[in-house]
């Protein structure tokens, strides 16, 4: 095989992008003087769970918002499920969903009413059946006819997750999905997400400050700092590279600028 043959057999950027669930190329977001996201590129294969890590202001939420089309990039490209965002958002919004602490479900509507409205927006077939299934899966039955505003923080998080799963999304974007949950419920939600990914070959991108959660759930970790990607690999490889036994220690190394020292010590 000649070099030319080898080159032609490699997938092109366009081919990789079309098969990936998310493909981000040279993405930049500048708010006035602040570079919130500074020239990042990554591609997430379908059926994987990826953790987006970083301290406050690292650019995780802005990155997710640009992938969703809620924020327009200053430059760069985002492709979701083979479609350019935000230009072709109408083709993909029905196939993805999200949960974020930056949005709420209407407080005065009951859980059932909220899920019914969002189910109709996503044109879910057999909606009553799907709502019952989610209520059963996420243990919402006890309070399904209670107003969302009268639920505990943990119950609200489960309802938000039910909304995020209402359309059986191929791509799920989660921003702090287990924040404000007690350890038992958080563990139960993680198990549910793992099962959902396995059963549906779904892709999940998850921003979290919970390192144990990321270690348990994610095939891959992208660490961001000041809008740039600091590292991108499997949790095991990253921990090995920093000579650390937990992602929390790696996170602290990155956050406190001990990156080079830790990497050199590992070498």
């Amino acid at each position: 095989m000649t070099e030319n043959d080898k080159a032609s057999s490699r997938p092109t950027v366009a081919e990789r992008s079309s098969s990936a669930a998310i493909a981000v190329e040279h993405l930049v977001k500048i708010y006035k003087q602040t570079r919130a996201v500074d020239d990042i590129s990554f591609s997430l294969p379908r059926g994987t769970i990826t953790g987006l890590l970083g301290g406050n202001g690292a650019g995780k939420t802005t990155t997710i918002a640009m992938i969703m089309g809620l924020v327009l990039p200053t430059s760069g490209r985002v492709q979701v499920l083979g479609h350019r965002m935000p230009e072709e958002s109408a083709s993909v919004l029905g196939r993805m969903n999200f949960e974020s602490p930056y949005v709420d479900m209407p407080m005065r509507l009951t859980v059932r009413q909220n899920l019914t409205v969002f189910g109709k927006l996503y044109a879910v077939k057999n909606l009553a059946g799907r709502v019952a299934e989610l209520a059963d899966d996420l243990d919402l039955t006890e309070f399904i006819d209670r107003a969302n505003g009268k639920l505990s923080a943990g119950q609200k998080t489960r309802v938000a997750l039910a909304k995020a799963l209402i359309n059986r999304p191929e791509l799920l974007l989660l921003d702090e999905p287990t924040a404000s949950l007690d350890p038992d419920t958080a563990d139960w939600v993680r198990a549910h997400l793992e099962r959902y990914r396995k059963d549906n070959n779904a892709t999940i991108l998850l921003a979290s400050h919970n390192m144990l959660e990321v270690e348990r759930l994610c095939d891959r970790v992208i660490i961001m700092k000041r809008g740039r990607i600091e590292d991108d690999d499997t949790p095991e490889a990253i921990m090995a590279r920093y000579n650390r036994t937990t992602l929390e220690e790696v996170f602290l190394d990155v956050a406190r600028g001990r990156v080079n020292g830790a990497k050199e010590a590992a070498r």
Binding site: A65, G69, V103, P106, R108, Q113, L121
Partner: protein, 272 residues
């Protein structure tokens, strides 16, 4: 083509979902329902008695029976129509639900259409009892205006939607810090649209401004009908033409403000 271009295939299903969402909200809160009735009723009672008092002391108003109370009802169609539109929109901002909607398959045009339907529903809840109060307390039957009433109503509601769409875009772009515009912008139209007096009262230069506003045509038309028993179809057609321009302009500015909100990240904050 941008993400906020109108795509083909508006979905009645998604519009229905949004109407259902607002209907659930209305039914969940009796203060919301009561408020829809309270202000229009207060308005018609106050102005009804003023009309009585003036008519007893003025030959002109005795002849032009109902012009004041008719103006109040038409003004309420304009004002409550816009509030009905904008309050449904504000409910999404107050509930921090706008991100959920913008991330769903709901398109901007579908969102706006659902707000228009809600403004009609909210208006009907407030205005129908108001007109019945006017009939039974002050013997003013607005429905006796007949078909012209439909022309007045359509022109006023189209203007109210244009204003509603524009101010919703402003709130989307600037967050709830711009909420006061929702409540106050329509009052800037009140003196210029000549709700309670004819256009001829204004200085000549201000008359040009008045005639650029579609509601002016509806109020002049109502006075022509009540005082001279003449239906001015020409006024209604001119108003309709201006309304068409206003609706297109307001929709274009909503899309521009939505795009600006996405550029500035306002959809994530939504606060002040």
């Amino acid at each position: 083509m941008t993400d906020i271009t109108i795509h083909r295939g508006i979905s009645p299903h998604r519009i229905g979902a949004m109407i259902l969402r607002y209907w659930y909200l209305l039914l969940s809160s009796w203060p919301r329902l009561l408020e829809l009735l309270y202000w229009p009723a207060l308005q018609v009672i106050t102005w009804g008695f003023i009309q009585y008092y003036i008519a007893e002391n003025s030959n002109f108003f005795a002849r032009a029976g109902g012009t004041l109370i008719g103006a109040v009802i038409l003004w309420d169609i304009l004002f409550r129509g816009q509030l009905g539109f904008s309050i449904s929109f504000l409910e999404e901002m107050w509930a921090r639900n706008i991100g959920n909607l913008m991330m769903s398959p709901l398109r901007p045009i579908e969102f706006l259409l659902s707000l228009m339907v809600m403004s009609l529903i909210r208006l009907a809840i407030g205005i129908i009892p108001m007109t019945l109060l006017a009939l039974f307390m002050f013997h003013f039957n607005v429905y006796a205006l007949g078909l012209p009433l439909i022309a007045f109503f359509c022109n006023l509601i189209f203007t109210s939607w244009s204003v509603g769409i524009f101010v919703s875009g402003l709130v989307l772009r600037n967050g709830l810090g711009a909420e006061s515009i929702v409540w106050t912008l329509m009052f800037a139209i009140l003196p210029l649209a000549c709700v309670y007096y004819p256009v001829s009262v204004l200085p000549v230069w201000l008359q040009y401004v008045a005639w650029s506003l579609p509601p002016t045509y509806a109020f002049e038309g109502m006075r022509a009908l009540l005082i001279e028993n003449t239906f001015r179809a020409d006024l209604m057609l001119e108003a309709l033409a201006i309304n068409a321009v206003l609706l297109v302009a307001s929709f274009a500015s909503f899309l521009a403000l939505l795009r600006s909100a996405k550029r500035h990240g306002s959809l994530l904050s939504g606060g002040e």
